[in-house]
């Protein structure tokens, strides 16, 4: 089963990468760009009996390694 773990910086945590990309976009003429935040998607193929089990595996992996909860939040999505 395919699981996607989205890892993103918590609100309020400075994202220098996002800032730099935001500046670059403005330079390219995308004037309406205000806040840019860069996040990470980890795609996993897991062996799970059902969607709920896959969801739990994704959450456990995010807590154990994929996200650092001091600075990041995460969201898990199980693809059909």
């Amino acid at each position: 089963m395919k699981v996607r773990v989205f890892v993103y910086l918590k609100e309020g945590v400075l994202d220098p990468q996002g800032k730099a990309v935001g500046h670059a976009l403005q330079t390219l003429g995308f004037k309406g760009v205000e806040d840019v935040r860069i996040s990470r998607v980890v795609e996993l193929d897991v062996d799970a009996v059902d969607k709920a089990a896959a969801q739990k595996q994704g959450e456990d992996m995010a807590r154990a390694l994929l996200a650092n909860e001091v600075i990041e939040d995460f969201r898990v999505e199980v693809c059909a």
Partner: protein
């Protein structure tokens, strides 16, 4: 006194650390491979700088789950002394042996230059070689050194005297918003912190690179002298 240096794939500052520990203690440290599962018999474990596991995922994240880190965690819980420098500091925060996290430098640039540090931590072996308020020079070389933690965690660190070192200029002036002084944008200019029992210390700059006049100075030597003294060497 026995010291050990942990080497992960991608560690690259371990030899500088060997030099500093040998100078300060008169004894060569033991080298520990990350797959070992014991640090038995040691009094001090050092996690040196480098780019463990290529900084994959987050700096220090993979190393924090190496077999040896279970042993280091148990060692720290029993009151063992642990020092983490640069990538070692990142590994200690990822292992939750120290609070907070190290983000990408605020200016996005890898910083490889000297900085100045103000000694602030109280009652710790890692700061005992200096007087509180002393200023010393230290080289730094990192891309992810922007220290951050929740405001209540920062308050607690300050209240308990657990901010070991703060970035400052040569005159000891600290300025959080001045990028010439607090170059990586760290919260409250924090360069190094102590654990609750003050036996675990992590800092981003490299005092081990200034421990010998032959390479430009001994500004960083008090860190190691202080540790050795506290341990009765």
């Amino acid at each position: 006194m026995k010291t050990g240096i942990v080497v992960f794939p991608g560690t690259n500052r371990e030899r500088d650390m060997v030099q500093a520990l040998t100078l300060a203690s008169g004894q060569a440290p033991q080298m520990l491979w990350h797959q070992q599962d014991s640090v038995d018999g040691l009094d001090l474990v050092v996690l040196p700088g480098g780019f463990s596991f290529g900084d994959y995922l987050r700096s220090g994240a993979m190393a924090a789950h190496s077999p040896i880190m279970n042993a280091v965690r148990a060692f720290a819980q029993k009151g063992g002394y642990v020092l983490g420098v640069c990538n070692g500091f990142q590994i200690l925060t990822e292992s939750q042996l120290l609070p907070g996290a190290l983000l990408r430098n605020a200016g996005m640039r890898f910083l490889s230059q000297d900085c100045h540090l103000k000694v602030e931590g109280r009652d710790s072996a890692f700061t005992a070689g200096w007087q509180t308020g002393d200023v010393f020079r230290a080289p730094m070389a990192h891309g992810d050194g922007n220290y951050t933690a929740a405001p209540d965690v920062l308050d607690r660190l300050e209240g308990e005297g657990r901010v070991a070192f703060r970035y400052c200029n040569a005159d000891g002036v600290v300025s959080d918003d001045d990028t010439r002084i607090n170059m990586n944008g760290s919260a409250r200019s924090i360069a190094g912190v102590l654990s609750e029992n003050r036996r675990v210390c992590g800092l981003m700059p490299h005092p081990e690179n200034l421990t010998d006049e032959a390479v430009g100075g001994t500004d960083g030597l008090p860190l190691f002298k202080g540790i050795m003294e506290a341990m009765g060497v």
